[in-house]
Amino acid sequence: MSVQDQRAHFHRPAPGIPASQGRPFGATLSPWLRLFAGGVWWIEHAFERARADGRPEEDTRVRIFLVMVVFSVVFSGLAIGAIHSALFADRGAAGRSANPNALERADLVDRNGALLATNIGYYSLYIHPAEVWDRRQAMVDIRRAVPRLSANRLRTAMFGDRRALVAQGLTPNERRAIHDLALGGVEFEAEDLRAYPLGTSARHLIGASDTGGIGTSGVELAFNDEIRAAGAAGRDFPISIDLRVQGVLENELAAAAIANGSKGAVGIVTNVLTGEVLGMASYPATTTKNQAVSAVYEMGSVFKTFTIAAAVDTGRADMNTMIDASEAFMVGKRAIKDFHATNRVLSLEEVYLHSSNIGTSRLAIGMGGNTMRDYFTRFGLLAAAPIELKESARPIRPREWSDTTLASLSFGYGISITPAQMSAAMGALTNGGRYIPLSLRKGGALNRGEGRRVVSEQTSQTMLELMRRNVVRGSGSHADAAGLRVGGKTGSANKLVNGRYDASHAVGTFAAVFPADGPVGTQRYSILILMDEPQTWPRTGGFVAAPAVGNIANRIAPFLGVERRADAYSTALGDKVPSFQDVEGDGR
């Protein structure tokens, strides 16, 4: 630097200005960028440098070398890409006809793998009107090939101005028929639709799903996420239903309902140890409502089972307790009478077998509101049945627990519950005394544990014995099935019509369990049959519902592995053992 230099060439950072502002541009960049910039500078000035050093040929070599390096890198990249695509490309991809509209829903199967719901491939038909040569002729041809197509929709699509959907759900044959016409502007798209091959069988239970593959009711809704997950993993989704049991239940239920002219009917078969629902039917099949979980009924005398169980469990009564039913029981101004009046002092067994309103009212009022509410809560009678179905309805509960309410509750009035609640409560009573929630999941509800204790094992055994005796010599005799040791309780209630209980609108119920003998932990199955407004007389559960229970037990026992055996009351073939052989010594 000298005094002759131009002023503009002289640069000195002003005091106080950061040193970086005085440095070359590259210095402000990151080290890597600076290195790169330096490299470019070095290459650009190589020629000058070489000339300055008197070795111009070196510059040429450097340039040739650099060009070679660049080309080598590019061609190596291409070669690697080519080898990769030659060796590792997905060869089948070209020929695979993947359906982009495939439903991600697993097949629903029963516990033995029988198909309940599946996805079936269909085609939807689109028309691109601008590409159709002769629209009128095309319309005629297509209608001739598939007559079921709607003429209006076809016409709208054919004479519209853009691509339009004509029909969904075309079978492969129908698609071929249209495709073979070789028309222009006709397009097909593959689509999956949910199919229910069983028709009306188990339809209330299985429910439905929409065209997008989302469950809208029943099992399809309840297990929607799991069914989709199973579908994505390529697995079936099994539910607890046994299609054979379901079939028998539906057939017998429909036969009984038709025979007695019932407006509706419900049947539930469960495994009382696991809470698995093996069959659940709702008659008539034409309604969409699953009455087994979404309809509530006053069920009448079936509740006497719970009242007596509570009395036995609290120690207020045992098999030797005598209860006065010789005259009407007055609760305030209300006289409680017996339907089958005996007008005498009854043992606990007789109260149960004669279905004495007086007897159970006395027991319920004796126990008091708190005890009764406690037991009803534990039996799950005051809350919606904890089953997976979203349709599970809440019961209509008593508003207060006065003596007159307790009397009504003791024989099944003043509380309306769903059949599913009744089935679960009967399960708790007969499985050794633990409340196991009903479940449609194969294997039972998740994390159900041991279940809450409702009554003691001893009470459970006592109630099983009482239920068995009720079938042998009480109101449930029509439910007996040879050698299957059926136990159960009838229930008959009048329905409220215009604010009054009307005897011509009745509900007949039979809640059964089989086999009723054997120790706690024996595999037992509960059958609940409810007939809504039967038209034949008598309308009681013992006549309208019990015979169906017997038929069902007879037919499903081989499927469930229940062997016919003799017990204290009848032989394996159903012949009665004379009462003098009764070793129970019940003191009558």
């Binding site: 030659a86 060869r91 089948g92 991809a93 070209a94 020929g95 695979r96 006809s97 993947a98 029988a114 198909l115 309940l116 599946t118 996805n119 079936i120 491939g121 199919a195 091959p197 069983l198 028709g199 009306t200 069988s201 299609l243 054979r244 379901q246 079939g247 028998v248 539906e250 057939n251 429909a254 099935a481 040879a482 050698g483 038929n551 007879n554 037919r555 062997e563 016919r564 394996a572 073939l573 159903g574």
Partner: protein, 142 residues
């Protein structure tokens, strides 16, 4: 040093003005190109075959699903029961049922009716008759 010279002379050996190394190199490249072409062509043919088979599998799978659904439809309990009832069939009563363990007891029952058809019909007819007759008394006796 000598080896280097030999190598250089060998390298510089030309046939009609073209280095032999280049000729061999060219030939090798040609062979490689041809073999790659053949391999690729074969792979493409197999690829399309695989694709075809896979689409066939997918189609068949769809067909199996359809047939399964059809089986399920035909075997729906209500239909089977209606057909059985129409054919005069019905549930078997407890008296006509037997377990596996009871089978020997059933066989041991006497068959008084067996010789009669054998006497009247000399040929193959008796084979069917005794079985039919045997079942009845045995079942009744259970």
């Amino acid at each position: 040093m000598t080896a280097g010279l030999v190598f250089k002379r060998l390298f510089d050996w030309k046939i009609r003005g073209v280095r032999w190394v280049e000729i061999i190199g060219g030939l090798l490249v040609a062979v490689m190109v041809l073999s790659v072409y053949i391999a690729k062509a074969a792979a493409a043919r197999e690829g399309s075959q695989i694709g075809e088979l896979e689409s066939q599998i997918a189609e068949n799978r769809q067909r199996v699903r359809l047939l399964n659904a059809e089986i399920s439809r035909l075997e729906q309990p209500a239909r089977l029961e209606a057909l059985s009832r129409a054919a005069g069939l019905g549930p078997v009563t407890a008296r006509r049922q037997a377990t596996e363990a009871q089978l020997p007891a059933l066989q041991a029952m006497p068959q008084p009716a067996a010789p009669v058809p054998a006497a009247s019909v000399p040929a193959a007819a008796p084979a069917a008759a005794p079985v039919d007759d045997a079942a009845k008394p045995a079942g009744e006796a259970l």
